[in-house]
Symmetry: C2
Subunit: 123 residues, 2 copies
C-alpha cells in the first residue's frame, strides 16, 4: 500500500491523470507537466522515477524515446483500501448491488489469473 506515498505529490498525481489518457513519451510529459507546474525536465524525470519505483507506471523504450503508461495495479490497491470507508457514504448494498459487486470482483480475479488458468469464469 505504498502507492499512497507516491500519490502524496500533486505533480505525480497530475502525471498519472495525464497518462490516464494514454501512454506518452517522457518528453511530452516533461513539456506538459513542466509548463503546468513551472518545473524543469529533470524535476519531472525524477517524479517519473518515483512513479516507476512504486510501479504506478510502466515504461516502453522506442529508440531514444521512453513511453510511459499507467500501471493500474497499485491504484486498485488504493481502491481496496477505500473499501473500509465506503460504508460511510454508500448506504448498505442491497442484494442486487452486492451481486454485481461480486461479479466485478470475480471478473477482476479472472483477469489476474494466468491465461493457462482461465477456467471459464463465466458471468
Amino acid at each position: 500500500m505504498n502507492a499512497f506515498d507516491a500519490l502524496g505529490d500533486p505533480v505525480r498525481r497530475e502525471i498519472l491523470r495525464l497518462l490516464a489518457g494514454g501512454e506518452r513519451p517522457a518528453g511530452a510529459i516533461a513539456q506538459t507537466i513542466g509548463e503546468r507546474f513551472g518545473i524543469s525536465q529533470p524535476a519531472v524525470s525524477q517524479h517519473l522515477k518515483v512513479l516507476r519505483e512504486q510501479e504506478l507506471v510502466t515504461v516502453r523504450s522506442v529508440g531514444t524515446r521512453r513511453f510511459y503508461a499507467v500501471n493500474p495495479a497499485p491504484l486498485r490497491e488504493i481502491d481496496d483500501w477505500l473499501m473500509a470507508f465506503r460504508t460511510f457514504w454508500e448506504p448498505a448494498l442491497d442484494a442486487l448491488e452486492t451481486e454485481i459487486a461480486r461479479g466485478k470482483r470475480q471478473r477482476r480475479l479472472a483477469q489476474d489469473a494466468s491465461p493457462s488458468d482461465e477456467r471459464k469464469a463465466s458471468a
Copy 2:
C-alpha cells in the same frame, strides 16, 4: 484533493483505519497507534492535527476527552479521483451497472443536500 498528502503517511492511514471502526478518544488512539509504531503521545497528537487540518477527521469534546471520528468527505474525493482510472480494471459498465451507479450517485447527492432541501429523493 489535498487529502492525498495527509494519507501519504502510514501512521495517519492506520489511524483512519482504526477510526473506521468507530470514534475513539485521543488517548486510545495514542495508545494503540503509539504501540504499533513505537511513537510517543505527542507524535500521535501531531498526526491527529494533520488529519484535522485536512478534515479527514472530526472531533467532539467530552470533558477532558476528545473523541475522533472519520470524516468521509475527503475520502470520497479520492474515490472520485480514482474514477479516471477505474476503466483500467473495470470492464466497461454494462447498462444495469450504470443504472445502479447512477442511483448511488443520486442517493449520495441527496444526502449532501441540506435537510430543508430534502425533496423526497426516493429510490
